[in-house]
Amino acid sequence: MALVFANLAAFYGAFALYGGAAAAFFLRRPAGAFLCARFGFCLNAAAVGARAARAGAAPLTNSYEFILLFALVSVFLFLALAGREKSLLPAGSILFSLVALLFLFVFLFSRGQITAAAPLPPALRSLWLVSHVLTAALAYGCFLAAAAFALLRLSRGAAKEDSAFGRRLYRIVFFGFAALSVSIALGAVWAEQAWGSYWTWDPKETWALITWIVYAIYLHLSRRRAWTEQTSCLAVCLGFLLVLFTFFGVNFLLPGLHSYA
């Protein structure tokens, strides 16, 4: 019971603090925003820990648990990058708004999952699944952070091209792309062990591949400087829209093997 309460308190606390961080970034109060963001991050991590302690396993099996990790990775990246590079600070308003929206989604549509803890079905009891979902959360977190930085750049209009910004964006996307590639490969291994088929063109698999292709195109053309910075930023934003569709849209519109996610 204490763990349920701790989980609830940590979730709602992180939700409020992330919302507060977004508002403070909009109002150009970076000190207050950073304070909210850091405390929110700690509560987010506490929610993951409480959930893991309650389930007795890695908390990676439903949308609530995944969103906790997704948010944790993106906030960590932001704090690590914007702490060093002050020009990225305004992206905080976008990033924390998106993170708060993710929490709002849980509050509106998956509130039951915050307190519920159903035992794992046999197919989900696999280390391959744990590594598959962890790397997916890592990838999605990177893509969210990259989209926030790209949106910031786009919102500044046709400013002079900044090669340092382009390089930073490329590095974040490459990290996410690598994590997504590993996640897809690990998911394929898990599916092969559990169901005897490493690729079934399940909607989630298909849309993960589509997302992978869009980021692969971005990485190829951005590396060759074939795109302007604006086009690169638009591609990163499109990639993130696909990430959101793969995570939310597929669950609601195209049920398949991943319908528990």
Binding site: A118, P119, P121, P122, A123, R125, S126, W128, S163, G166, R167, Y170, R171, F174, F175, A178, S181, V182, A185, A188, V189, W190, E192, Q193, A194, W195, G196, S197, Y198, W199, W201, P203, T206, W207, L209, I210, I213, V214, A216, I217, H220, L221, S222, R223, R224, R225, L253, L254
Partner: protein, 305 residues
């Protein structure tokens, strides 16, 4: 490179449409297969033309080579599997022996017989399933091996991989008249006098008598068999029976003696698995090397954008 990216973009666009318009069908269509062949050929030619550049042993170039070779091998493995891979489903009840080679259509090769020794389900405290265990003996021409198969733990023998796919229920019914006990599966009909039949319609392992509902749990705490009485093609009534209960139906006396679970195994041969697995390893190696090239200072001499 641009041609390859254009093909990738076409695959993405068509896959997106396929999930909405023709789910399950589009991905087996010749057009989709053709796009992958085109991508494979384009990447092969592009790779060959870049080979000289990649030979320069620069870390970044080698990482790119591994990444692209990995994708090529995965595509090749997938293609080989789609063309030559075989799958089959084999239901087995305790003591039964099934011909796995015949189920897969492997004629002329070494025989493979699977005999089910036992099938058990392990449950959580709340009655939901924790794991399914199939214990079997696999017999080939010259040897026999025992194995335990469970979800996420397949067993491979003679190039055939065996997975725990599903399970079913077997209903042992005794007719008082002849005393013979026969096994029926869900949906099967038991002939009664005249044109009447009894269809085994549904099985409820844990029935809640107070609320008169199926709890949805799989542990057989309070099992009930739902049966449908028919006169010819017309359903007359639907009733519940507990195992061991004596049923008097229109001059027949039936007893559902017990309900056993049988296992359903998935059998597979996948000649494309080895190239696909090598491709995945090459892809991972390329990613690791790419990481070193991008994130470790001095890891790559070529500038980033």
């Amino acid at each position: 490179m641009r041609a390859g990216l254009a093909i990738l973009a076409m695959i993405a666009a068509m896959a997106a449409m396929g999930t909405f318009l023709w789910p399950g069908l589009f991905f087996r269509s010749p057009l989709f297969f053709f796009l992958f062949i085109l991508l494979f050929l384009q990447m092969t030619f592009c790779g060959l033309s870049n080979l000289r550049r990649w030979r320069s042993l620069r870390l970044r170039a080698f990482a790119l080579f591994c990444l692209h070779a990995g994708v090529l091998l995965i595509l090749a493995g997938g293609g080989v599997n789609a063309k030559f891979g075989l799958t089959a489903t084999l239901p087995l009840q305790a003591g039964e022996e099934g011909d796995a080679a015949a189920a897969l259509g492997l004629t002329g090769g070494e025989p493979l017989w699977l005999r089910l020794n036992s099938f058990e389900t392990e449950f959580y405290a709340d009655g939901s399933p924790l794991q399914y265990y199939t214990r079997l003996t696999a017999r080939t021409a010259g040897s026999s091996r025992t194995a335990e198969i469970s979800v996420n733990h397949p067993f491979a023998i003679n190039g055939v991989k065996i997975y725990q796919q599903s399970f079913g229920y077997l209903f042992w019914v005794r007719e008082d008249g002849d005393g013979e006990t026969r096994a029926f599966r869900l949906g099967e009909n038991i002939p009664l006098q005249g044109e009447a039949t009894l269809e085994i319609y549904h099985y409820i392992p844990a029935f809640d008598e107070r609320a008169a509902v199926d709890t949805g749990r799989l542990r057989p705490d309070n099992p009930r068999i739902v049966y449908l009485l028919r006169e010819g093609e017309t359903g007359v009534s639907m009733r519940l029976a507990a195992p061991g209960e004596r049923l008097e139906i229109g001059g027949n006396t039936l007893i559902f003696e017990r309900v056993d679970m049988y296992t359903v195994l998935r059998l597979k041969t996948d000649p494309g698995l080895v190239p696909a697995a090598c491709g995945a390893v090459a892809l991972m190696a390329g990613i690791c090397l790419g990481f070193i090239g991008i994130y470790v200072p001095g890891g790559s001499r070529s500038p980033l954008p």
